[in-house]
């Protein structure tokens, strides 16, 4: 059974601050994760973390997501989103 997904209010500002390409990619990832929840490893409290990498317009971006699985509501609730990015042509750190 696949889930729906839902953003907790405190997760929204970070998502809205992302550029639109990354927003789309994160939504694609979320839709894939709710279709395939086995990709997440939930702890005994029903929370999970997930990270991914994305390259767009010569910018490398790593994003980090936290979730709560709500079995009763059939929902994957997004608790937090963090992202770090670096232009590919930028001198290395």
């Amino acid at each position: 059974m696949s889930l729906n997904y839902h953003f907790a209010p405190d997760a929204l500002p970070a998502f809205r601050a992302m550029d639109v390409d990354l927003q789309e990619h994160v939504l694609d990832v979320l839709e894939d994760v709710v279709e395939n929840p086995w990709r997440l490893q939930f702890d005994e409290g029903g929370t999970a973390i997930f990270d991914g990498e994305y390259i767009s317009n010569d910018v490398r971006c790593v994003f980090f997501l936290t979730f709560l699985k709500d079995d009763e509501a059939g929902m994957l609730r997004i608790l937090g989103i963090g992202a770090a990015k670096r232009p590919l042509d930028e001198p290395r750190m």
């Binding site: 997904y5 907790a8 405190d10 929204l12 789309e24 979320l30 971006c61 609730r77 963090g82 670096r86």
Partner: protein, 143 residues
């Protein structure tokens, strides 16, 4: 003296030294990731949040040191020398920096919100992103 203080005084590393520093930083990150279940509290209890803050502090210190390692090996990269693990270490640093944007207190608050069922449906956020993308396309076509 910590790694971050020592590296600038060591001068340009050779390939073997650079690989060893990168492998050491990656190994420490791999060990820290075994404690990912301690990054965020499952309740708003202050003791649990304080415990999570300690894990965050260790990750912050690791990221600072890993960036010092990357700066240390940069002369080799600038010369075009391949150094094993650089991309992996950069990804690990970016993951740590992304993770550290989420605070234990903020996550505990979001967890309470989620348990109360508060928030916005993903389909609504998809529509919001599509509207934003269309607006950007329109403003771009006018430019």
């Amino acid at each position: 003296m910590s790694t971050i203080e020592l590296l600038p005084s060591l001068g340009k590393p050779n390939a073997e030294q650079a690989s060893a520093w990168i492998a050491a930083a990656l190994a420490e990150a791999a060990a820290l990731r075994r404690y990912d279940n301690r990054l965020f509290a499952r309740s708003s209890e202050s003791a649990e949040i304080e415990s999570c803050k300690k894990v965050h502090a260790v990750w912050r210190k690791w990221a600072d040191q890993a960036e010092a390692v990357l700066a240390h090996v940069r002369p080799l990269l600038d010369e075009g020398q391949k150094t094993i693990g650089v991309d992996d270490l950069e990804s690990a640093v970016m993951r740590a920096r992304a993770m550290l944007q989420l605070t234990p207190e903020g996550q505990a608050r979001a967890l309470e919100q989620a348990r109360r069922g508060e928030g916005v449906d993903g389909r609504e956020m998809r529509r919001e992103v599509e509207r934003r993308k269309a607006e950007l396309a329109r403003s771009g076509s006018r430019a």
